[in-house]
Symmetry: C2
Subunit: 220 residues, 2 copies
């Protein structure tokens, strides 16, 4: 797909936002996509339950700091999508209509996607749809037990920076979202494009999906 910029149709990327999403889970991948969009034809939708700004503040710590990000589309009026990114964060740990709506949107939109990318315990939201049943996936290593319990039929891989199974790419915690996004960009647009973005970000990539220092750290 290198040379996608010459195509008429953009690659249509979306990301779901919900209260208490982890800032870097979203903005690591999004910075990579912003940089990709300088040379390739991609579009981006930020999807949430409503068009109200969505906070990163943890629902479990009212005194915590947070930032508010403006959605572009609601779950009921999404544009056509080829790719969906699902971040994690403490907000995934609550049971609320907003989280249930996010899970329902992921389930409903999946059949039209070419790729689904999860960051951190965003894979827990996808696990709750059933879409990961019988598939290999990974997640945040510090929140391993809690997240993997959400998908008892998933083949959870404890030692992985990221895992691909079919068209679902799941990454480990937070900053691993940058590495899975760069790996996915490399898959679609080639190594030069991905490494060029990484170099521009001055990001030292984890390039081997099986090397995972945080599995050791958290005793997995």
């Amino acid at each position: 797909m290198s040379g996608n910029s010459a195509q008429t149709d953009p690659l249509r990327i979306g990301i779901v936002l919900f209260p208490g999403f982890e800032a870097l889970d979203a903005f690591g991948p999004l910075n990579c996509i912003n940089d990709l969009s300088w040379t390739e034809n991609v579009s981006l939708a930020l999807l949430s339950a409503t068009l109200e700004p969505v906070t990163t503040r943890s629902p479990f710590c009212p005194g915590a700091t947070g930032q508010s990000v403006v959605p572009t589309h609601t779950f009921t009026t999404p544009p056509p999508l080829d790719v969906l990114i699902v971040p994690g964060g403490q907000g995934t740990r609550v049971s609320s209509p907003l989280i249930e709506g996010t899970i329902a949107f992921i389930r409903d939109v999946y059949p039209q996607l070419k790729y689904l990318i999860t960051v951190c315990n965003g894979s827990g939201l996808v696990a709750r749809t059933g879409l990961l049943d019988g598939r290999r996936a990974t997640t945040n290593k510090k929140a391993w037990e809690e997240t993997t319990a959400l998908g008892p039929k998933v083949y959870w891989v404890p030692r992985a920076r990221w895992v691909t199974d079919g068209n679902i790419w799941s990454s480990s915690g937070v900053s691993a979202g940058i590495d899975v996004t760069l790996a996915w960009i490399e898959h679609l647009y080639g190594e030069g494009t991905a490494q060029g973005i990484a170099d521009g970000l001055e990001h030292t990539r984890h390039k081997d999906s099986a090397v995972d220092p945080f599995a050791d750290l958290y005793g997995l």
Copy 2:
């Protein structure tokens, strides 16, 4: 300052936002601060010219993707601040009232600050205030020549992940903002707090400020 959470007064942190700020320049440090705020007493203000959402979209690429973030304060109604973070991005490269207003705010607020932290070519904005004259600082390595030209009286350090001089901490490009923020957190709250945040982010830290693979990459 470890144990700051027991104090009455929070550490009051601000960040400036302007059109075309680099997403990860801001949200790398902000995710560290969000996590810090779970255990320590900190407050956060997002400052811009107006309270309108501020886009990360590059002003030089109208078709590029971007995200909009909601400020909490304007430059004319700032809260008291102890710390200011200045991100970079392509938006720094334009001459506009918004950028001039950002530079003026940095200049005016600096005397009240305990710390000023720059990410990427955010140091170029600070250089334009004159506050870096006679000081050591670093910046984005890919944009080295363009940014350093903004501060001919600055002692620019080409091989550094980050540089401290007095109370000004300047980092190299984009993801180096995470490393300088963690180093600054370590300075204030101790190694355990900083490493705990890094581990939670599954971020492999650059812990030595003088080790800089990107200086080699860009021939500096």
